[in-house]
């Protein structure tokens, strides 16, 4: 043995082992990156598409929002949410056209460039980029109207004059002329003519004429759907001859570019050298500098530090998204400092949160907690077309719905199933939305068992007994969620209703069967949620507009609620700017809902976000809007803390080695002795 393993080689091997042990680290990133301003975050499943006209998920908007800049943006710190100019030089001016319709006039900044990309060679050999033009915004709007693109937001744009007409013209031409359908889309759009209400005036002016009043349309210009899109990208990234698809290769004029996009392992965003904020810091554009104003709590949280306000954006040079399929390993890596921010996972809630604040352990790590109420609402809905619980049963059903509403304790529900991370809802409007009244208390959402029993009696169901059957009133709660854990949540509701003698059966089916029931109207009670597209009460109240009824138009009014006065008020408030008149109309609508009870409003979910001390300027936004460019981090502090928190613990290795030797050596000696 000694002849095959000379002493020098054995020593070398031993030294290598020792060095390997001492050098071992759990750092998943290259050490050369440790001092760079790189934000580390994660994703679960890659977005299905990054096509700005189609992508409608939060995970997609994290990327598309950073890559595609829009004409307008949200103010990062102000609440209620406020629009500011983005690529536009100012907020749009509105005026009445000759036919009485509203027209919005946008002006684009001059000299704004797209990111460098090979697709621009289509416009001339050697071109790497070009200027952003209003024709690109018109092109993006035409794509939303294009039925082949299948944009999920075509409906709200139907308020633009001629929008649906463009869709019809395009479809007709494609059906009638196969040659036309094969031409590049830009050529097709040019041949069928523009959308009447989208008028490009020169290179930097765009007018949007509305067929009907819809001031909320401005919010859509702060979302990636309407971001200027170069026709070259659509033509070049067609998935042919080894080229990417547009769905995987965004080309925009935003603060970041997508430098790497591996759906299985990681995405990388890098600062865009062509971004107007980087090329023209002297413009001091509102979307390119850190905001000067905010809320009082921003001042308290250090988000209005004089050292940071007015500084050019972005602060972070690279964002790395690593794939993490499970929440527990992600959270552990966050605690080790390998991710900069995290939510609070349900499993570790008790460890992280103590009496509504951070636990001692988290505070010792320098972690901060930010709570934000999401602009969304979760509710239990009644099918108002139902014979027992809906409008056909008249006053009786109304009292029944009121009684059922009075026994559902949303606070207790949030405590049990969401670690208390939900604000009990008094109406469908969440905090931060115009019309929300913090002092408002819905009398039918106050837990009052006695009053609920009295209402049951008034409804003709004394003690819950249905006079027809002489047994407890039997209703059905339909859900597409068949998971055992979901059943517990639904049992919470059925158990509450049992208190007033109503026997509610849970009918859990698969999603297709559930959709079938909804189509046929054969459902009574369901649970649903709505996350706002934009921060306007119209985006919540339209959910109960009769024109949106599922049974009538297949719309999102699954409760099939229909009330003439509510509809009148909705149509009136929809076209109004925020003001006392609009507020009065909203209040009246909420009163109708309070009395009619098509929904039992449950809660507005609350986001708990954790951040390490080295990450600054963080404010959860609630809406699906990329805020990466506002964040900053201290990479040196992070590297130092990571090193402290992740010192290799070598004693178990030594202990195992010694133990193995203690077991193996006598064994080997005995074996050798026996062989001799």
């Amino acid at each position: 043995m000694s002849s095959r393993w000379p002493a020098t080689r054995r020593h070398r091997l031993a030294w290598m082992l020792v060095v390997a042990c001492l050098a071992c680290t759990n750092n998943p990133y290259p050490s050369s990156d440790s001092e760079k301003k790189i934000l580390y975050t994660s994703f679960g499943d890659a977005p299905r598409t990054l096509d700005p006209a189609v992508a409608y998920t939060t995970s997609a908007h994290v990327i598309t929002g950073a890559v595609y800049d829009t004409l307008l943006e949200y103010h990062y710190l102000k609440r209620p949410y406020e629009l500011i100019p983005g690529l536009a030089s100012d907020l749009p001016r509105s005026y009445r056209s000759e036919d009485g319709g509203i027209v919005y006039r946008f002006e684009l900044r001059q000299g704004v460039l797209y990111q460098d990309d090979p697709c621009f060679e289509l416009g001339g050999a050697g071109r790497q980029s070009r200027e952003v033009l209003m024709a690109d915004v018109a092109f993006a709007l035409m794509r939303i109207a294009d039925p082949d693109v299948n944009s999920p937001v075509a409906e709200p744009f139907s308020n633009v004059a001629g929008f649906q007409d463009f869709t019809a013209r395009l479809s007709e031409r494609r059906e009638a002329d196969a040659d036309f359908a094969r031409r590049p889309v830009r050529q097709q759009y040019a041949e069928v003519g523009p959308i009447d209400g989208v008028r490009v005036d020169g290179e930097h002016v765009l007018e949007i004429a509305l067929a009907s009043a819809y001031p909320q349309i401005l919010y859509w210009f702060a979302m990636p759907f309407t971001a200027p899109l170069p026709w070259e990208a659509v033509e070049y990234y067609d998935g042919r001859q080894g080229r990417d698809r547009l769905a995987d290769h965004p080309v925009g004029a935003g603060p970041y570019v997508l430098a790497e996009y591996n759906k299985q392992s990681r995405f990388v965003l890098e600062a865009n050298a062509n971004w107007y904020g980087a090329l023209h810091p002297e413009w001091r554009a509102p979307g390119a500098v850190y905001p000067f104003e905010g809320e009082e709590r921003d001042r308290q949280a250090g988000r209005l530090d004089p050292a940071v306000v007015g500084r050019p954006l972005p602060f972070i040079e690279r964002v790395e998204f690593r794939r993490e399929k499970e929440s527990i390993p992600y959270f552990n890596k966050f605690l080790q400092g390998y991710y900069d921010a995290s939510g609070v996972i349900k499993e570790s809630f008790e460890r992280v949160i103590h009496e509504g604040g951070l636990s001692e352990e988290m505070r010792a790590l320098g972690i901060s907690l930010e709570k934000t109420v999401q602009p969304s609402v979760y509710y239990i809905g009644f099918n108002m077309d139902d014979e027992t619980i809906g409008t056909p049963a008249g006053e009786r059903a109304r009292l029944l719905r009121q009684a059922m509403s009075m026994v559902i304790d949303a606070r207790e529900y949030a405590r049990l199933f969401m670690n208390g991370r939900g604000v009990p809802a008094q109406s469908l409007l969440p905090p931060g939305i115009f019309g929300y009244d913090e002092a408002y208390e819905n009398p039918n959402r106050r837990i009052d068992l006695e009053r609920a029993r009295q209402l049951m009696e008034e409804a003709g169901y004394p003690n819950g007994i249905d006079p027809k059957t002489q047994r407890p009133l039997r209703l059905t709660f339909d859900t597409p969620d068949t998971q055992a854990q979901a059943r517990l949540r639904f049992e919470f509701f059925t158990r509450s209703w049992r208190q007033i003698g109503i026997d509610v059966e849970i009918s859990a089916t698969n999603y297709n069967q559930f959709q079938e029931k909804v189509r046929n109207g054969s459902y009574q009670i369901f649970m649903w949620g709505w996350v706002a597209d934009y921060p306007d009460p119209e985006n919540f109240l339209f959910l109960l507009w009769s024109e949106m009824a599922r049974s009538k138009s297949g719309g999102p009014n699954t409760a099939n609620f229909s009330d003439t006065r509510f509809d009148e008020l909705y149509l009136s408030m929809k076209g109004r700017e925020n003001g006392p008149q609009r507020l009065a109309e909203i209040r009246e609508m909420l009163k109708i809902l309070e009395r009619q009870r098509p929904w039992i409003e449950l809660f507005h979910p609350e986001d708990y976000a954790l951040y390490h001390g080295w990450l600054t300027n963080v404010k959860p936004f609630g809406m699906s809007f990329s805020t990466t460019k506002y964040r900053d981090l201290d990479a040196t502090k992070r590297a130092s803390l990571r090193a402290d928190w992740n010192e290799p613990v070598l004693w178990p290795l030594y202990a195992v080695t010694l133990l193995s030797l203690a077991v193996l050596v006598p064994g080997i000696i005995t074996f050798m002795r026996e062989r001799q």
Partner: protein, 340 residues
């Protein structure tokens, strides 16, 4: 007819049937010897199974009324089993640890401090009660599915083995086709088509589990049909059906019992897998485990829910496997010959 009346009738029939079989078994020398042998070898396992059966029966005998003192008005009009009545009004608001007198999170006082032997779950249900209720579902799944699968397997297996020819080809083709399909996917597809109910789950499990025993019974029948006494019966002009019922089936009975016992535990475990996938039966141990799966990663840990369901499942599976093993040793002629 009300479902609880059907349940009571089924219980009565089962009790009468088991008593009849026991009476018959004790009168027959071979079966009485076998039962005696089983008792000697696996006394504790038999007692464990008897306990589960007793609990299941307690949860199957139900009637309406007698719950006027209950706060739950719906319960007064619904059939309640003996088990439900024993555990009436034991609900708390949320989690409590075994024998605790306060809620696990928040520390609010419990309505029934110290009385929850295995604690309570997230919506305050007594875990001991839920574990006991799972016994009925487990026995129902195992028993009903075996009652569907074994006759199906016997019908096809004996027909194929006895008649041979085209019948054999057809049965073999069906068996091979079914065996080549991924069992779990077929199960999910069947339940999706039939809807989620106890009967649908039992039918789906039966459709996917009869093939193995069918193959065994076919092979055994192939052997039996060539034996002298079967040939003699055929030569004497005895009808085919009579030969099958008089000479073939009785000689397959030991296989039926062995397969039934061994199949039972596999079926109960299959239901757990289905519950994990969200298509199991309400009130099963599988559903309890699924509901509690994230509780082990909570801090502090909620261990009693999953432990109770897992232990109850483990107890019955282990006992049934021990008994199945002993039954095979006692009844299988090959094992007996090896023993001699």
């Amino acid at each position: 007819m009300e479902s609880w009346v059907v349940s009571n009738v089924v219980v009565a029939l089962i009790v009468v049937g088991v008593a009849g079989l026991a009476w018959f078994g004790l009168r027959d020398r071979m079966w009485s010897q076998a039962l005696g042998e089983l008792w000697c070898r696996r006394r504790y396992s038999v007692l464990v199974i008897a306990f589960y059966v007793a609990v299941a029966l307690l949860d199957s005998i139900s009637w309406v009324g007698g719950m006027e003192a209950q706060s739950d008005t719906v319960a007064r009009y619904k059939a309640q089993s003996i088990l439900d009545r024993l555990f009436a009004d034991t609900r708390e608001r949320s989690y409590s640890a075994p024998f605790a007198d306060r809620e696990f999170y928040g520390g609010a006082a419990l309505q029934r401090p110290g009385s929850h032997v295995l604690g309570t779950d997230i919506i305050g249900r007594d875990v001991f009660y839920l574990s006991l209720k799972g016994a009925r579902v487990a026995l129902l799944i195992g028993g009903l599915t075996s009652l569907i699968a074994i006759p199906l397997a016997l019908l096809f297996g004996v027909s194929a083995g006895y008649f041979g020819g085209r019948t054999d080809d057809l049965v073999f083709f069906v068996m091979s086709t079914l065996a080549s399909m991924p069992g779990l996917l077929l199960l999910i597809a069947l339940i999706m088509v039939m809807g989620k109910s106890t009967l649908a789950v039992c039918l789906a499990l039966a459709v996917t589990s009869w093939v193995g025993f069918c193959r065994v019974s076919r092979g055994e029948t192939l052997k039996l049909r060539e034996l002298e006494y079967v040939c003699a019966a055929r030569a004497l002009g005895v009808s085919e059906l009579r030969i099958i019922f008089r000479h073939v089936l009785p000689n397959l009975m030991h296989l039926v019992i062995i397969t039934g016992v061994l199949m039972f535990s596999g079926l109960v475990l299959s239901e757990v897998v289905l519950s994990w996938l969200g298509i199991g039966v309400d009130g099963s141990w599988g559903q309890m485990i699924d509901q509690a799966r994230n509780e082990l990663s909570r801090e502090p840990i909620i261990w009693w829910n999953i432990s109770a369901a897992g232990s109850a499942l483990f107890g019955v599976i282990l006992a049934v496997n021990f008994v199945g093993d002993a039954v095979r040793d006692i009844l299988d002629p090959q094992t007996l010959r090896q023993g001699e």
